[in-house]
Symmetry: C2
């Protein structure tokens, strides 16, 4: 029997119901079906579907339109489903990343039939895997019109605060080359691992920057995340690869980030293996400012920068200001002990409700 | 039908016959059977067997006894069998390491029935694999009396020259520890790969020594042979391991070598994973001096140090001076294009024949 979601249930019950339908990346079908079915029962919404992405929107002719988006997939379950309510915390896979935010959006989609701006609710697949599979990216390619809006909110966990934009990320391999030899006659070879010493020296000496963008301070970092060299314990290694991850403030685009990495490793063989631009917070945009004012009136606090790369960057690339706003501590995402304070689920709902009805 | 070896055949034919019986480590049975059978046909020899090791000896009551030893196994065949005679070179797996030397020993065992010193001919298994499987080591444990002698010659490839003793070898892991974190918030972790920078810096700055032992100059080396660190491209690595190989002159024992490595990496977590002492050349010993004089009268040249670790160290550990002396270039051992000059096979035979009949 197909799973059913009752969007009128209390928020914790709804969050648990969403989490308890397993939806590991690539296996989102059942949850997407349940989401589509529940939204189709709302007469005020137009519902669209592409693969396992579900889009529902009001068509009230408001002056502006906003997107509220969240991904349906989770990282693999680590013996942490079904959900458990322990005191004031909801434990289980997806409670933080990011089915808590999805449940809040589903409840609002049902319960705010006449928002003060038109809303497009976007629920998508394949966020936790390779970028080319990303469901939001697929919607951008297949149906850019479905995503047309003046401002977007992504329900990624932000501890219930507004986290603006995001840092970009770039990975590069610094490849060291040598000449193989038997280690009993080491002097007939050239050691590629020793050559990596200078690469690590530059990384150790590197002073990461903190860059102000639109009033938020983005902290950067430059780290070796992988190193691998050598073929056997009696062979002078002829190759060593240091994989570097540069997390860069949204003041730089990908080309600027690559240039910075190439400058740091000047003289070395550098191959960029993947990169994604960050997103400026755009909080000076009127639609974003309205959102911040309405939300902060409920939650208190001030906007902060988002450090991890999120799909807000996809909106940013479309020229749409976007922020992260969702329940849960991002440091608990993907962990076996993933858990979300129930208070944050309620507070996020209340803040978004205030904004959509202001 | 069991393979047969004709010890009276010409040397190239015999070498090819030995090589063409596949005998990759662990699969030496057929070759060992053929060797045993051929030696049992020699009425002047007493033949003994332990596993796939075959020992044959004269019992002439000479004043001294020497061992001539060689291993029967090879590294895996790389589409380089059966052997091919190309011009003056014999191509194929085992021609260098070390069935050329084995063939020379088999021919001498058959053709010198009354050597001027008693000879124990030793052919053994499992040299090319883990040390604990080594057939010569097993003979030392099971039948130390079979190996009793005043001097030993190991037929490992030495380009037909005398290579005395051997360097020792020690491997150690230098383990760097850190604290894992998501690379988007790198400052919450401690990067273990960056910590390896200082280890590589010390290796780069290290000046390897050349140490005179009994008149031969042993060149040492200290190298990172493997490096591995990190778990994923978005995680600050909490572990990095640099595997270091120290090749040390036989002036040091294993404890001395370990102390040297620990001194170099003072302050780091160092774990010695394996070590084997080298062997002093012992060319000042009378039996060794007699050997050198007889051989060099035929071959010319001067003794050189052996850099690679060989089983001469097992004789050295028994207090027996031992040298490497065999046909073939050790730099071609284990290679796909392994090949041995036919001249060296003949010259090695002639030199050993001169020594055993002097």
């Amino acid at each position: 029997m197909a799973a059913e979601l009752d969007l009128d249930a209390d928020l914790v019950t709804l969050t648990r119901a969403v989490c308890d339908i397993p939806s590991v990346s690539g296996d989102e079908r059942e949850l997407a079906d349940a989401v589509e079915s529940a939204l189709r029962r709302q007469p005020h919404l137009e519902v669209l579907r592409d693969g396992d992405a579900v889009v529902a929107r009001t068509n009230l002719g408001r002056e502006s339109r906003v997107v509220v988006a969240g991904h349906l997939d989770t990282v693999p379950i680590a013996d942490n489903l079904p959900t458990r309510l322990v005191g004031d915390e909801l434990w289980g896979r997806g409670t933080v990343d990011m089915l808590g935010g999805v449940a809040v959006a589903l409840a609002l989609a049902a319960r705010v039939p006449a928002p003060t701006r038109d809303v497009t609710w976007v629920f998508y697949d394949h966020e936790e895997v390779e970028a080319e599979l990303n469901g939001l990216g697929r919607l951008v390619r297949h149906h850019p019109d479905w995503l047309a809006c003046d401002f977007a909110v992504l329900g990624e966990p932000s501890n219930g605060g507004i986290e603006g934009g995001c840092n970009g990320t770039l990975r590069a391999q610094v490849r060291l080359h040598g000449v193989a030899a038997h280690s009993a006659r080491a002097w007939t070879g050239v050691n590629a691992i020793h050559a990596a010493g200078e690469v690590l020296r530059r990384l150790e000496a590197y002073e990461p920057r903190t860059v102000d963008v639109d009033g938020l301070a983005y902290r950067e970092s430059m780290n070796a995340v992988l190193v691998s060299g050598g073929t056997a314990a009696n062979v002078i290694p002829d190759e060593c690869v240091v994989t570097v991850n540069y997390r860069f403030a949204p003041a730089l685009d990908v080309a600027g980030a690559e240039a910075h990495v190439r400058e740091l490793f000047d003289g070395f063989d550098v191959v960029v293996t993947d990169a994604a631009a960050g997103a400026r917070p755009g909080l000076d945009h009127p639609a974003a400012a309205q959102f911040a004012a309405a939300v902060l009136a409920v939650t208190g606090g001030v906007p902060a920068p988002k450090y991890g790369w999120t799909d807000v960057a996809r909106f940013s690339a479309l020229g749409v200001p976007a922020v992260n706003f969702g329940p849960g501590d991002p440091l608990l995402a993907h962990k076996r002990d993933e858990r979300c304070p129930v208070d944050q689920i309620h507070a996020t709902y209340a803040a978004l409700h205030a904004w959509l009805t202001a």
